[in-house]
Amino acid sequence: MAEVTQLIHEYLRHDKKFPHVLCPGCGHGILLGSLIRSVHALGIPKDDVALVAGIGCSGRVAVYVDFNTVHAVHGRALTVATGIKMAKPDMHVIVVQGDGDALSIGGNHFIHAARRNIGLTVLVLNNFIYGMTGGQCSSATPLGCWSTTTPYGQMEKSFDFVEMTRAAGANFVSRGTVFHVKTLDKLVRQALVHPGFSLVEVLTPCHTQFGRKNKFKSPVDMYQWLKKAAMPLEAYEKLDPDKRAGRIPIGVFVDNHEPALETRYAAMRAKLAKG
Amino acid sequence: MKPDIQIDRFEICLSGLGGQGVITLGKVMGKALALGHGFNVAQTQSYGPEARGGASRTDLVISTRPISYPKTDKIDLLVALSQEACNKYYPLMKPQAVLLVNTTLVKQIPTNQYLGLPFTEMSIDRLGLPQAMNTIVLGAVTFLLPFARRSLIRKSLEESLPAKIVDVNVKALNMGYREASKAFGQPPAIWAAMTVADNGNGDTEKAAPKKPTAKKAPKAP
């Protein structure tokens, strides 16, 4: 407990902004905790961290934490982060986005940032819904689920963040949940030090906007669903394909070590300087 | 260098088909007149899908005073390398302007008062390189412009081109200059006042016209 208090004092901003805007049962705070523990464990100075966030509940995470924080406009967090990383390649540039921010409005930027393999750590908080704005569907809302803009059920298929990011060419692609905190800590730590574009898709419950409309009685129900549905990738792969329905693999899906964009760029500039 | 004569808005319109190298011609000429000769030059061009295969045009305004309007207002020299360009831009000429046409492609010339050389034919028959046609034109125009010096134009040409095609283009430039001098005798008399004295390097073969003659209409060779 003492350790937690110490981390809170060191990493959260005290001058304003508490209590926070997040609802009871929200998983965003768990990811924020995981991020703080990971940065602390890796010994990265706060000055060296730029945290860029998009719009939505995930975007508000940035204001609470004592890094260099940038709250961008909807969907464009990755573009701003790209500018920061290319201008200051030695900084740890972390991007926190929601599912709507990352792959609905920001889908094009997401694909291209992954393709460029630029050295960003991208944490996508996937709660399957637009939470802050009142529960409208996103490109991650599963088929058949209800939201305020799919009152008769979602007819469109949802994005698979992991497969999309893999296909686009990112170096490191992983998925975790806010229930499996130890795994999440490990994934975030790996993503922070991995060169190139590193994704952690973080499944997180939004009971207020998603759960209540989709037959989850309480936030606890949602955590229990995550607990049951998620399983390690290795075990999932061994599973009979018929039994995979409803199960969600978590772990590291892609672990490549191609040079990041900023590394290639630095090499080109050095070569030009030699003449 | 500072020019030793005064020019107030001498306007050239180079026109032809997309692919004939009209814009490159304008660029090389503009650079030579601006940096080599020291004139103020504004070179503009019409871009566009129509520039590929269709009409292509670049304008040069040359002046010893600052240039206001960068496009041609009243053309002093129209170079028309295709029939379409000739038809389109002929009406924009000053009453006393000079028309230089590519007689290979311009079959119906809208006036009897013109200068002509078969540029396309010359490039194919004598150089075996139709792409060098624009450089032959550059040579001819260098002869016609009393304020242009062949050595400076050649220098600009050499600087603008990749090394392996410099020789053939210098050959084309000289051919254009020589043929123009053979066909036209001397630069148009109306421009005599703009003639520069020979700088002693032997790079200016043009002699100022002895007497201001009425504008002549040489036959196409």
Partner: protein, 383 residues
């Protein structure tokens, strides 16, 4: 030879677009994020070639114009002088992030080489249809600096000015060119950086624990350290207090928005640049900008040759609108003519500031061709 050249100003025969590149590099631009679009691509191509050859220059081609401006904003926060260039369709895409840059007070230079519109319009032809969009295009009330350039040498100098204003006032600056200006080649002098006034954004001298990123200051412009320099702070597109934290308190909202206006508008005398030609005794005035100002210049000369007392104000600053200079012309002239390659955009401003002493005529052209001196001269003769 090369060492010698560095010690003196150079003469080059260059496109307006290339002059923008020279100006940007002289001003210290070290980051370009862009997306190619006719007729602005020559600027991007120039930066692609030059920036990687500088000590810390970064060039990146983004996936669209939204991303281009996003990357520029990120790099600006990281302390770089940044630029992007685009044309109509791309400019429309950038509007959202222009507002963001205004709100977080990120210095940047955005060059818009105007082409015919609306929509895809006339990609290779000149127009001036984005003037009011440059002023009002992004949503929400804001102040912004919009500049223009007349000829190729001007492209270089106004680009340097644009960077200086961006840095001095912590604001996006929009440089509006048109296709004719960007695609005209002329002989220009590239001066040495040491012979130019080059400005940099104010840096905090106070210790980090005292620093508030959006605090009121003498000039209304707060100091701006680069990210990662020890001054950790928050920036957001939400309306924020002087710490940068979101706020909805009316007094804090009013303070923030009014300071953003004031920091630019109160220095109008520094920002408004005009070039006057024979306006002293003019009876017929012309107000023009961009390449059309060159047509107007020749038309005024031709009118004077005919004994008509004509004069020209060439607007290098479009916004904040150079009211004092134009008002002076309106008071002196019986007729003021505003030729523009649009259906009438700056003429709205001229009419707005007209004290009633002059008749304002417009000449409008939207067919993809520059307004000719002849058109303007005809109008002057009737005026």
């Amino acid at each position: 030879m090369s060492a010698k050249r560095k010690t003196a100003a150079r003469e080059i025969f260059a496109l307006g677009a290339e002059a923008v590149v020279e100006g940007a590099l002289l001003a210290g631009c070290s980051f370009y994020g862009g997306y190619p679009i006719t007729p602005s691509s020559e600027i991007m191509e120039g930066m692609a070639e030059r920036l990687p050859r500088t000590e810390d220059g970064v060039f990146i081609q983004m996936e669209d114009e939204i991303a281009s401006l996003g990357a520029c904003i990120g790099a600006s926060l990281a302390g770089r002088k940044v630029m992007t260039a685009t044309s109509g369709p791309g400019f429309s895409l950038m509007q959202e992030l222009i507002g963001y840059a205004c709100m977080i007070e990120a210095p940047l230079v955005l060059v818009n080489v105007m082409r015919g519109g609306p929509s895809t319009g006339l990609p290779t032809s000149p127009a001036q249809g984005d003037v009011q969009q440059a002023r009002w295009g992004t949503h929400g009330d804001h102040s912004i600096i919009v500049l223009s350039a007349t000829d190729v040498q001007d492209c270089l100098h106004m680009t340097v000015k644009a960077f200086n204003f961006a840095e001095k006032y912590r604001t996006p600056v929009i440089l509006l060119l048109d296709e004719v200006t960007a695609h005209t080649r002329e002989k220009i002098t590239v001066p040495l950086a040491q012979d130019l006034e080059i400005l940099y954004r104010l840096q905090p001298s106070m210790p980090p624990e005292w620093y508030k990123p959006f605090e009121e200051t003498v000039r209304g412009v707060p100091p701006m350290p680069p990210l990662g320099s020890g001054y950790r702070f928050h920036v957001t597109g939400l309306t924020h207090d002087d710490h940068g934290y979101p706020t909805q308190k009316p007094d804090e909202v009013v303070a923030a928005i009014s300071r953003q206006f004031r920091k630019i508008d109160q220095f109008f005398f520094d920002i408004q640049i005009t070039d006057e030609f024979l306006t002293g005794d003019a009876e017929v005035g012309v107000v023009a900008y961009g390449s059309v100002a060159r047509s107007a210049h020749l038309a005024v000369e031709q009118a004077r040759e005919r004994g008509i007392k004509a004069g020209l104000i060439d607007l290098k600053t479009l916004f904040p609108f150079p009211r004092a200079a134009v008002e002076g012309l309106l008071r002196r002239c019986r007729t003021v003519i505003v030729p523009e390659m649009n259906m009438g955009q700056i003429s709205r401003e001229v009419k707005r500031v007209n004290p009633g002493t002059s008749t304002v005529w417009t000449i409008n052209r939207v067919d993809g061709h520059i307004i000719t001196p002849k058109q303007i001269l005809e109008s002057i003769r009737k005026g």
